[in-house]
């Protein structure tokens, strides 16, 4: 049998429904309306300032998902974004602080490419390329 408190609780919910009718939706009209990312949110590994990198390889050793490959001879730094778990350990351990995070999450990818950065040989004083 339905008792009094049960009937009353049904009206509690109806009150809530009327309140919802008069209030704004709890959701956003995505993608027309986007929420700004929070400050310091771990959206994705933003990238590397490759000219500042010393290729010590600490980021690659500390990466829990082995997403980073550093090649000292080639002066290259490479991240596999499909392996990256966005923990931001690499940016914390980097001695030159040349890695940075981005607050916006990764866009959908069409190809499984790795983001490879190669340091260009530094220019000499007379402006010519050292290796050229």
């Amino acid at each position: 049998m339905v008792n009094r408190s049960e009937v009353k609780s049904m009206f509690d919910m109806i009150g809530n429904i009327f309140k919802n009718l008069g209030s704004k939706p709890a959701t956003r009209m995505y993608p027309f309306e986007k929420r700004e990312a929070f400050k310091d949110a771990r959206g994705q590994l933003g990238g590397i300032d490759i000219d500042a990198c010393i290729f010590c390889g600490i980021c690659a050793r500390k990466c829990p998902s082995d997403a980073i490959v550093v090649n000292k001879a080639e002066k290259s730094w490479e991240v596999d974004r499909f392996k990256c778990v966005v923990c931001s350990v690499c940016t914390e351990v980097c001695p030159k602080k040349c890695l940075f995070m981005s607050e916006n999450y990764t866009d959908a990818a069409y190809t499984k490419e790795k983001a490879k950065h190669v340091q260009q040989p530094k220019s000499t004083d007379n402006g010519e390329q050292a290796s050229a």
């Binding site: 408190s5 049960e6 919910m13 914390e92």
Partner: protein
């Protein structure tokens, strides 16, 4: 009478995760239930043996999304006790704060799923609207919504500013107010009670004999809450475990709903008592020896067994999760119940199959 076997899952509308049950039926009544798990085994325990002990924090967090913070907490506490690290007081309070936020979002998720399982869609949405506020706090404080990666061996990786603590306090009060409105539907609504009261009764003796954990045990009258042991900062906070005596699906709902209020209370206490100071201590050397570390997760007690050998990698990491402990109780409740009650029964153990299989 002839028996029919109905497969339930691994793909089923009420199941967020793949659990397979072979239900042996006589008409509408279940006479036996045979479970099969193994659909999301990822071999994470083995993976931890190949990673450095500091990297493993990120591996164990991925055992389960919903209680990721507490998995890392259990692991870090284990390593810290092996290496005799005393973490700063502020880190202890921050750990509790994030753990309780996780408990709120886990229980709100569960309440929504339960409402969805008995077909109360609007209640499901009301609950999840509140959960979204917790997820936003998580993203703003820790940088990520679910796998928040705040715990590290020696403390926490992020600090929370004073302004943010005040903001959290205001938001959890809002959640409390909003939840009071939907609480009436869970506690008193005729249709909700019709689906929950007296369904899947687990007596105190059975709950004890079957080794249930967490809200399952507490809904059957067993006063068991790992937080009472006072790990992290729980020893300095004031709370009492929430106990119900009936042991049915309704009691389990009541326990979890009241635990949301309890978590809000614990968060407020944490914010009021938050000490100043460092959040992390430097860690030198490698762990050696073996230890058992236990933490109360939203679903119950999780047990971490760690064996280290003095090198950077661990010899063995064993995780016993609360859902693993609660599946025997589910198999005990199923025989004799109606087929239509199976979704509710499975949900009231709050199954986390990813946890169970690791």
């Amino acid at each position: 009478m002839s028996k029919t076997v109905i497969p339930f899952g691994p793909q089923h509308p009420v199941l967020p995760e793949p659990l397979h049950l072979k239900l042996v039926m006589q008409d509408e009544i279940i006479v036996d239930a045979i479970p099969a798990i193994g659909y999301v085994h990822r071999g994470l325990e083995k993976l931890t043996e190949t990673k450095e002990f500091t990297q493993n924090t990120f591996v164990v967090e991925r055992v389960c999304g919903i209680c990721s913070c507490m998995h890392a907490l259990a692991y870090c506490q284990g390593i810290e006790s092996l290496m005799n690290i005393e973490i700063p007081d502020r880190a202890k309070y921050l750990r509790v704060l994030w753990a309780e936020l996780h408990r709120i979002h886990s229980h709100l998720l569960w309440l929504g799923l339960l409402a969805d399982a008995f077909g109360f869609e609007s209640l499901f949405m009301q609950v999840w609207r509140n959960r979204e506020k917790v997820m936003d706090i998580m993203e703003e404080t820790a940088g990520s919504r679910v796998i928040i990666s705040v715990n590290t061996v020696g403390g926490t990786r992020r600090d929370i500013s004073k302004e943010m603590l005040t903001k959290i306090s205001v938001i959890v009060d809002e959640i409390k107010e909003d939840l009071k409105q939907v609480e009436a539907a869970f506690f008193n609504d005729y249709t909700v009670k019709h689906r929950l009261v007296g369904v899947g009764v687990l007596t105190k003796e059975d709950a004890y004999a079957l080794g249930t954990a967490g809200p399952m045990a507490r809904a059957s009258g067993i006063k068991q809450d790992l937080r009472m042991t006072g790990y992290s900062a729980y020893g300095e906070l004031d709370f009492e475990p929430i106990i119900e005596q009936d042991g049915d699906s309704y009691a389990r709902t009541v326990v979890r709903l009241k635990e949301v209020y309890q978590s809000i209370n614990l968060i407020k206490q944490c914010i009021a008592k938050m000490p100043e100071g460092e959040i992390v201590v430097p860690v030198k050397g490698n762990p050696n020896g073996e230890v058992v570390s236990r933490v109360e997760q939203p679903r119950g007690e999780v047990l971490y067994y760690l064996r280290a050998n003095g090198s950077k990698t661990l010899d063995r990491l064993r995780i016993r999760t609360p859902t693993f402990a609660n599946i025997p109780a589910l198999l005990h409740m199923l025989p004799g119940s109606q087929l239509a009650d199976v979704p509710v029964l499975i949900l009231t153990i709050d199954p986390c199959i990813s946890c169970t299989e690791r």
